[in-house]
Every structure is written in C-alpha cells, then in structure tokens.
Amino acid sequence: MIKLDSHVPEGNISEKWANHKFSMKLVNPANKRKYDIIVVGTGLAGASAAATLGELGYKVKAFSYHDSPRRAHSIAAQGGINAAKNYQNDADSVFRLFYDTVKGGDFRSREANVYRLADVSNNIIDQCVAQGVPFAREYGGMLANRSFGGAQVSRTFYARGETGQQLLLGAYGSLNRQIHLGNVTMFSRREMLDLVVVNGKAQGIIVRNLVNGEIESYSAQAVILATGGYMNVYFLSTNAMNSNATASWRAHKRGAVYANPCYTQIHPTCLPVHGENQSKLVLMSESLRNDGRIWVPKKIGDTRSPKDIPESERDYYLERKYPAFGNLVPRDVASRNAKYVCDEGRGIGGGRAVYLDFSEAFNRIGKEGVKDKYGNLFDMYQNITGTNPYEVPMQIYPAPHYAMGGLWVDYNLMSNVPGLFVLGEANFSDHGANRLGASALMQGLADGYFVIPYTLGNYLTTEKPAKVDPKSNEFKEAENNVKENVSKLLNVNGKQTVDSIHKRLGHILIDKVGMSRSETGLKEAIKSISELRQEFWNDVKIVGKGNELNQTLERAGRVSDFLELGELMALDALNRNESCGGHFREEYQTVEGEALRRDDEYSYVAAWEFKKPGMWELNKENLEFETIKLATRSYK
C-alpha cells in the first residue's frame, strides 16, 4: 500500500497557490545551472516546461521520438484554449472556469489543482500573445472569443481551426531559443524505454536511438514526463499514429501509480469509420456544434437520403433531451447519445453515424457565413469523405480522443516516485472523469509555463537529489532490462503482425471499455486482453533487427504496453461501480438513462500500483469538495 498525499496547501481555495508559491523553497539563480533536468516529450506541456526551465537557468535535456518537437500531437488541436479573461463581459471569472471544469469533470478531479488551472489560464493567453501567437482578432484589434462545448460563456481563444498548431509553434519557438542559448539540449528521434530509480528517486532515463537502435542512458536530478495520453490503446483513435503510453507505462512499472485509467474521452464529432484498413480516426472541432444540429431519422432503418426526410420525421435528439444546452452538451453526453440512437438502429442507413446538419445556419448566416467560421473544417470533410458538406449534411460518429486518466501526481505535479514529475495529458489531475473542450491546451501550457517552474525548485532544494553516474549499477540494470525486452520481442518470431494484434485489442476495448460498460463485459474484456497478451508474446512477428531503424519494433514495444494498460483500464472500470463523466456503467443510471454517480463510495481517485502484468493493487486518494457542493450534473 502506498500513502498518497496530495500535498494540497492549506487555506482558502483562491489563496492556496499564492501561499504555496511563497512557502516553497527557491533555488539560488547561480545554483540552477548545477541541476540537470530531463524532459521527455516536447509537445505543449514538454516544450513549454523545457523552455521555461531553460529560461530559469536549469540545464535541460529534452527528448522526443519525433524528428522535431514541432511534430507533437498537440499540433493537431483545432478548437481553442480557454481562459477566464472575461473579455466578452459575459460574467466569466476564474471561479466560473474553475466551477465549470469541476462540474464538467463530474466531480472526480482535485479541486485545488483545477482552481490553479483556472487561475493561471489568463497568464497563458498573455504569454502566448507576447510570443507572437497570431490568435483570431476582432476588427478593432481585440482578441476574439467563441463559446465551446459545455460552456455558457465565450472564453475560448483560437486561431482559425489551428489553435494547437499556433500554440505549439509558440512553445517550440521558446524551446528553440533555449536550445540556441545552450540551456536546453535537444535529443530527437529518441524513445524513452525505462525510468532509472536510484535510492527511491527518479534520476534518469534509458532511451532507444530510433535511427541506429542504440540504447543510451541519461542521468539527471529530476525527470519530467510530458508524453501525452494513451488513447491509441483503442487502435482507432484521433491520436497521432505514434502517440503511445510507453514512457508513462515503463515509469508505472518502476513504481509510479496509474490513476483513473478508465476515464477516457470519446469525442462526439469525428468522421465515421470507412473500413477495416482505416489507420486512424479524424476529429473535427466540436466548435461545429455551435451551428450544426445533430439528428437521426425517427424511424428505424430509414434509408432515405437526408433531403427526403421531412423535418417532422427527424429526431434532433440532443435538443429534445437537453433543451438548455441542446447540441452543446458536454462531450461524454453527446457521444453516449449518438451511440444509443445507433444501437437503436436509427443511425444513418442503419449504421454507426449521425447527421450534423448546417441547413439552419445556411439560412441564418448564409453559406458564406458558415464558410467564414468553419471553412477549413468543411474542406477537410470533403477531402476525406469525397462528399460536399455544403450540399449534403455531414456524417459524424464518436471516436476515442483524450485520456483523463494517467500517472498520479500531487499538487506539485510530482508522482509518488520522488523526482518524477508528470505534466499535461500524461497526468491525471485536472479533468476528472471528463474533459471540457478547449481545456487540454490550457492544462498543457499551465503545467509547463506556470506550475513546474515553481514546484521543481522546491523539490530540488528540499530533497537535494544527488548527481548519479550513468555508469552506475542502477543505470546498468535498467539498460539491461531494455535490451532484454528488445531481444525478447525480436525472438518471438511468430506469425501475427503487430498491427493485427493491436486491432484486436482495440475492438475489445471499444466494445467493452468504450462509451458504455457493464460488469459482464468488463470481466470478459479482462479475460480476453490477458489471453491476447499471451498470444502476442507467443506469436508476434517482428521483421528486422534491434540495431537499426525498425518501426515495427517501435510499434511492438508500444503495443506490448497497451496490452497491459488495456487490462488495467477494464479493471479500473470494473472497480468503479458508478457512472461518471466518460465512464458510464450500464448498471448505474437514473430512470432517465443519465449517469448515476455514487459519491459516498467512489469519490476517490483510483491509483493502481503495478505488481506484475495482470496484477495491481488499488490505492485511494479521497477527493474533498470544500468549495463546490457535490451536485448531479444536469444539462437539461
């Protein structure tokens, strides 16, 4: 059993972070250069952290499996980034953003972390504008805002449908400046395959050089993981092809506990699956739900073309069930309802898709007006599907998108392994059981620009981690562990390809640990994933060698970790006998079919400690709601 102390500071919620910043110990400016810090992952969270730590004077080594930090999947975020600026004078505030995020997360996040996130949100916008991020503007030169899924105020800042790209390139610029100044050394095309723990503290990593296959060791006084989420566990997701859980999973196997892995977000506005050979799913910004209306035919098995289905025979099911929020209900609600209507056989042509219809918007603001707001998304839709969405309503279906679960961290973003910090999507901390739109970019940058620069210094001064020689025994042991794992993979020499096994894992998960889960289904999932894992280790086929560029080997390592993580997701979902946010258990719903939370028993973070593959021990961090009263989420 591990004692999980959240280290939430004392005091009123609005003063905790200010008090904590004052009470934390500082590193003398001249001493910062004596500390080596490793940052793994250079997306929004990692690049902003590496750059900011470089600015402060730390000696940073940053690692990415990409050829360049600019490739990180943060770049694909379309819609925007939230901040409580209240520039629109619509009664927004730090408290309201905090409230919305806690409520949107279905009361399964840690209040103090969320408040801090809302609090620093305004600094993020200031910082990004100062870096030259070209946000959308009004004609008078002010920054523009729009409203976004789950919010009743306009607090989302954006840059066309490419907000993630512009924010990442801003952070990439800051990172480049520190590389130029010599404060950050960039190691690209390196994949972290193990964490080195010395005397209980995280002191380094083992990476594989993806170009020549060499196993390399790097030592530091703290290790920061900013390696993103695990949604590619489903095989088909909106994540990039290379997004994976390996760095955080290997850290998990070295003692870091994994929190709430069953909290997965299935995003409502994605393109439907076109066939078995599909490699990934494409998301379209949910800003489309501001003007598009979602519907299906009322009749089961209605195969008429949409223009032949009269208004009276259409079911705008979100508007009908949730009149207050309509098409703007949170993602989990929108997704689950799309699944239900398709389960009923009312999906388009009886299949798994629903209409996203802009005809009302065309009448209101004209096709030009729609093009102005969503032109690039409409072009993208046409490019991928070959259908013109200005003529025929779009077809959408939910797709795995974002992982709310991740490595457990305390208020300082440190895991239970001292010296191992986890930022961005890779940690579990801020979104509870469901993430609201436009808050992933916010969290990544909050962690990197404004949280870790403070909390890291406190760790270094209080714990005084030593410099460890990368030739020490602990490093040797970890290197050997990695080498053995690589040769074990290469020596299976079976018959099945890595992708074919990964696809089967994905089918099990989306079916049984997807938008709707049941005790029977989860038990079946645990059994079949465990069997599939055996099959993988007995029958996977990896062509090529370890000491060369070998993409099949890279994928095999990642899938071997997914085969363990997938089982834990099912176990976590089985343990949580309630419905909350993205985790919907069929046994726990209201008479109206809405999620039924069980606060008395499950108001805790489930943090799993790794024992051996297929065996974990549950640790709990109780969640206290001191500021916001626990309430049933209602969007009716």
């Binding site: 030259g132 503007r137 066939g275």
Partner: protein, 256 residues
C-alpha cells in the same frame, strides 16, 4: 461509403541505408477509394511483415495534414497531385483503376535519406533555432489585450504562421531552396508588433543558418507555393528579401 476497389501498381523507393544504392520496388495492390495513400502503405507493410520481409520505412504522425511529418513525392509531385494537400490526406479516389504510381522520398542535398522514404530534415530545426522566436520569458507578459492588433495584420501573420514545416517547398524547388519555409517565419514576426525588437537580427541569423545547411538559392519559379500543402504565399519570400536588404542598412552596428 463506397467499397469498389481499384487496382494500382505502386513503384516505391527502397534504400536500406543512407549510403546504399536505392531502387524502385513494384507492388500491385487492390485499394479502397476511401483509403488514404498512407493506409495503402500500411496494408503493404502488414503483408510484407506477415511474409517476413522488410517493411517500407516511411514517416507519418497526425494523418490530418498538420504535423508535417509525412512527405512523399508521388509521381513527381511532393505530396502528390492535389493542390493544398499533405500526403496523409491524399485519398485513392483521386486515382484511376489501373494507374501506376511512383513514390519517392523528398529529394534535396539538405535532406539526406535515412532509410527508404524517410529523410533527415533537421536543417529546418537549426534554422528555427537561429531566430524563429520572440525572446520573451514566461511570467512577465502584459495583458493580452494591451497591444491591439488589427484583424488584417493578425490574419496576414497567421497566413504565414500556418507553415507545417514539411519541406515540400525544398523538395519542389530545382535549387532545393528553403526560402518559402524561412520567409514564412520571418514574415510572421516582421508583420506582428511582438516581432519588432528582433526584426532585423532575426532575418539575418535565419538566412545565415539556411545557407550553412546546404539549402539553395531562390530563382523565383514559384514551384514551392504550388506544392505547399498549406498554400503559403511566395509574397512571403518577397517580404523576406526586403527585410534582409533593409536589415543590412539598419543593423550594421547591432549584428555581429
């Protein structure tokens, strides 16, 4: 969606190491028109792996046309025949039954081949490290609305900032010039007020590193703009030339 398959012949560049001799290997493949070109490569690779043969090394990541990782030359065109389309967004419905495709890596002295279709574009990062940023430390920014920026200016800066760093401009240019790539970043900051303090040092530093990394000169053929998946305009190159010449006059005492 449509599942009528079409039959294609794909000639794909194979090259085991940077120094080994490359060749085209022919693959015959029935493809779904809804599949992307990269999904066809996935299919071929799965078949090769099942047969115990070395799969084709190629890079891709987001498969949404924004990360800039994928970049193949298809029938002589970087990112294929469609305008404003990255390789990952190239769907097979754009090809006819019975067609033959030639698929190669981006070719440029500045982009050495690592393996098969993978090239080394680290020269791009080096150019960005030389000056593709605004020197501004986290923590001291004024309120974001303290500086008003006309919508037109913000939009123009974003037009340039949309560059995805894929390198198609270099691959399209007979001189392997990186002028479109470099000018996009130079323009973004030359246009915006935030970029003004370092405006003249920036352009000189970035051009210097561009030249050091074996990218060629610009001779105004505009092939770069034609092949750019984001449609970055060559007017950025003109702006960069003006900035560069202006910088020579304005900053002699400021730049090393």
């Amino acid at each position: 969606m449509d599942n009528n398959h079409i039959h294609l012949t794909l000639n794909i560049w194979r090259q085991e190491t940077p120094s080994s001799k490359g060749f085209f290997e022919e693959f015959k493949q029935d493809v779904s028109p809804d599949s992307s070109l990269l999904e066809i490569l996935d299919e071929i690779n799965n078949r090769l792996e099942a047969e115990g043969k070395r799969p084709i090394a190629f890079e891709s990541d987001c498969r949404e046309g924004i990360c800039g990782t994928c970049g193949l030359v298809v029938n002589g065109n970087p990112h294929g025949p469609l305008p404003k389309t990255a390789t990952c967004q190239l769907h097979m419905r754009n090809f006819n039954d019975g067609e033959t495709l030639f698929i190669e890596p981006f070719r440029a002295t500045a982009f050495p081949i690592i393996k098969d279709l993978i090239v080394d574009r680290s020269g791009f990062d080096k150019i960005q490290q030389a000056g593709g940023f605004v020197s501004f430390n986290a923590g001291s920014a004024p309120d974001a609305n303290a500086i008003l920026i006309p919508k037109k200016i913000a939009d123009l800066a974003l037009d340039a900032a949309e560059c995805i760093g894929c390198g198609a401009c270099v691959a399209a240019c007979k001189n392997s010039s990186a002028m479109l790539f470099v000018s996009a970043k130079v323009s973004q900051f030359a246009i915006l007020p935030q970029g003004q303090p370092e405006r003249y040092e920036r352009v000189q530093a970035m051009v210097k590193v561009m030249d050091e990394n074996l990218f060629g000169s610009c001779t105004n053929t505009y092939a770069c703009e034609a092949e750019c998946p984001k449609g970055i305009s060559v007017s950025n190159i003109a702006r960069m030339n003006r900035e560069y010449i202006g910088a020579k006059f304005k900053t002699e005492e400021l730049v090393d």
